[in-house]
Symmetry: C2
Subunit: 133 residues, 2 copies
């Protein structure tokens, strides 16, 4: 399976889980062609929250996010009125939801390793759960 | 150019126009594969409004919208907390923004003809303009 296909499958998996709650709706965004307007991978909403999510799957123990990608997520979220979130899934882990502040800044990127994702991240259940409504 | 490509180009045209206002952001949604969760073609937002738009281009003098499509637009909008809108562009006209109530209901579809679109529809400028903020 190609990397792109795996990424799309992972996004669809999350979309499915959001709808499955019966309280959240979610959609995947499409590229805007050559125009390059900022857009998150997923936009989800329940009755009180709107969340813009950049989501990534990796087989490595850490995942890098280019600064421009994070900046676009922030920009879009501000414009749209949504909370910016990072969702990351490592090999044989479930999804972790992280704030941008939970990532470590390097010269060109932000990065999160598996250990810190487990320590700082919210599980999907925590992210969409009753504690947040 | 294929019909699908023309549709995507039309959506991109609208996205571009929303961003061009400096006050709106907008994104195209991607299909959710075999899952068929409801999603509008475009989701746009300014500081106070969120709008879900089903948009269509036609060379005919009328445009049909299958009932299921309209129902999905309503459902999604209710879940997401957005206003449901129809955007339609006829041959050599600009975009018209219509409420679902402006469409005429037939047995299997909703339909709008060019004449009624011109009479009842808002121009893009009216839709995103100062009168609505």
């Amino acid at each position: 399976m190609s990397r792109k296909k795996k990424g799309i499958d992972a996004e669809r998996d999350l979309i499915h889980k959001f709808w499955g709650t019966g309280k959240w709706c979610a959609l995947r965004t499409a590229g805007s062609g050559s125009m390059h307007f900022p857009a998150p991978d997923i936009l989800a909403s329940n009755i009180v929250r709107k969340v813009a999510i950049e989501c990534k799957v990796t087989k490595d123990d850490k995942k890098y996010f280019p600064k421009d990608e994070v900046k676009q997520l922030k920009n879009f979220s501000e414009y749209f009125g949504a909370e910016p979130w990072i969702a990351v899934k490592f090999f044989r882990t479930s999804w972790f939801f992280l704030n941008i502040e939970d990532l470590r800044e390097t010269k060109k990127s932000y990065v999160i390793n598996k250990r810190n994702a487990i320590l700082k991240g919210l599980s999907l259940k925590e992210f969409i759960g009753e504690g947040f409504e």
